[in-house]
């Protein structure tokens, strides 16, 4: 069997709070092949954001195993994790999270600063990506001079600039109207068609329909794992547990 891009086994995550330990993730098992497009759904507090943070190497699990491309993440130090976030994973956030002082070109080129790419190459690559997401005319504008949908396109261009294998999108359409949401989802589908793996967190089921697989979280567990197009792969995780 081919190696999974993402392999998570028996993942637990506890948070220490003033009121005692809270378990956010319990016995989560998940695997994903390269090229897949997964939507993660679930109500607030179901643990999906924590799960995304762990997959994005921003957070560490309390126990359990997580391997990216077959490499266990637990063994890596801070700098190695930063390198993975820089080169293997691209983040897209609900609030876009662009640097307000920097031009669109500088925003998109920012990850390349941390991988030591020369200035001329940084600008060239950022420009190509801004053109690809349809914002080639605005490269010197500031983020507050363009619309929310356009800002999210810039954020996607930034996520793509280091040619990652995996894009993690945390409610990327949460702040957008339905027409703009459709445009952003079409962009994700196009990227997935080019072979980039995508994991997307969303509340909305019509957004989740764009993915080829839907995973539902509830109270820190995966309760449903569905493939939308090939019906024979459907498993009712809730039944199995």
């Amino acid at each position: 069997m081919a190696q999974s891009l993402v392999l998570v086994q028996d993942l637990h995550k506890d948070y220490q709070t003033a009121a005692g330990a809270i378990t956010v993730l319990k016995q989560v098992n998940f695997s994903m092949d390269a090229g897949d497009f997964v939507a993660i759904m679930g109500p607030s507090g179901s643990g999906k954001s924590t799960f995304m943070n762990i997959l994005g190497c921003l957070d560490k699990p309390t126990s359990g195993h997580y391997a990216l491309n077959g490499h266990p993440i637990a063994e890596l130090d801070g700098n190695a994790l930063a390198k993975i976030r820089n080169q293997t994973i691209g983040f897209v956030f609900q609030g876009f999270n662009l640097l307000s002082r920097a031009s669109l070109l500088d925003n998109v080129a920012l990850p390349l600063v941390y991988s030591g790419v020369s200035k001329s190459e940084r600008q060239e690559r950022a420009k190509v990506l801004l053109e690809k997401v349809g914002l080639g005319k605005y490269i010197n504008s500031l983020p507050n001079q363009i619309s929310g949908g356009q800002q999210q396109r810039v954020a996607i261009a930034r996520a793509l600039v280091n040619r990652p294998q995996l894009i993690l999108a945390d409610e990327p359409t949460g702040n957008l109207d339905s027409v703009t949401s459709e445009e952003i989802m079409a962009l994700f589908s196009a990227l997935n068609a080019e072979g980039i793996s995508i994991i997307l967190v969303t509340h909305e089921s019509d957004i989740a329909e764009h993915a080829s697989r839907q995973v539902r979280f509830l109270d820190g567990r995966i309760v449903q794992d569905t493939r939308s197009r090939t019906m024979e792969n459907v498993t009712e995780a809730g039944v199995l547990n």
């Binding site: 700098n79 390198k83 990850p111 941390y114 996520a159």
Partner: protein, 406 residues
Amino acid sequence: MFSAMLGEAWQAMGANRLRTFLTMLGMVIGVGSVVLMMAVGQGAEESVKQSINAMGSNLFIVLSGSSTSGGARSGSGNASTLTVNDANAIGELDGVGNVAPISMGNAQVVFGGNNWSTSIMGTTATYLDIRAWDLDDGYVFSDSDMRSATRVALIGKTVVENIFGDINPIGKTIRIKQNPFVVLGVLKDKGQSLDGRDQDDTIIIPLTTAQRKILGNQFAGSVRQIMVQAVSPEAMTMVEQNINGLLKQRHNIREGADNDFNVRNLTAVANSAAETTRTMSLLLGAIASVSLLVGGIGIMNIMLVSVTERTREIGIRMAIGAREGDILLQFLLEAIVISVIGCLIGLFIGITGAMLVNKLTQAAVVISGYSVMIAFAVAASVGIFFGFYPARKAARMNPIEALRYQ
């Protein structure tokens, strides 16, 4: 990557110009005052050094002792106990170079319609050698002038200004206490002595002339003081002992009795004056350094605010691959850029201020490359030192919490 970070530091500083400017102002004032204080302090040291050099090196002055009349004791220099013969005998001692006996007093000097009261110094030509005092114009009186007590005079710059104005004094005849004197030469500008006396307000005439014609009523051969120059700094202790021994013998002073003369080491006095100014300039520098420290604390304060304000930005940068070191470097660089630019402006203001002080008060200032370098190095280290804690705070942030920060 470094240049990209410098660019970002510049951008971040530009984002809040007033705050950046105020932060910088702390550095500007700190560095400016250090440079100014050091310039003034070193200037003072330098002028003291010049006074010492102008005074002459390895000098003793032998003063006649006090006299007692009717139970009242006068100050030293008033008894007529020292003689030209004493001076000649001192000249024979080992380690003694030049010796100049001096008689002096004040007198009114007249030329044309102008008159001026000045000090009249009767001495030998060696006095000018000891004081390393040259002539601006004319020539010094000769041995034969000495022997025949000729009425000739060398006059100081202040006297020239006051009675001659623009007239060339050489060869002109002036009157000192009604006696006509021919001006042989004009003394070079000597400036103030260590105690602030104007050394150019003087007239030098041959000792014999002074004793016989001007400072009359002393008995022949007596002098006020004898200036003695040792051949080297090392010989000074020995020379002092020898002068004391010789004069005790010549003046028949018994063991245990008071001396009727005083030997003073002028060089030691001068050195202590130099020491005083050095201490003063150190003190000025120390006070100014405090303002540099305060400026550094200002930088730290603003960097802490900046780190908190930009928490979300830090989270974003971490999410897209910034290492701890990258974040640390970014904020550190910002602190350093602020302090270095502040330092450059401070240098400019400090140097301009020092020149202004020089212009307005005529006080000597010295701007040395050394003090500029020190100020610069200190400013850079202040930036690093006070920028490090906020930068480390930024670098140690938890990316998830930073991203959630509103």
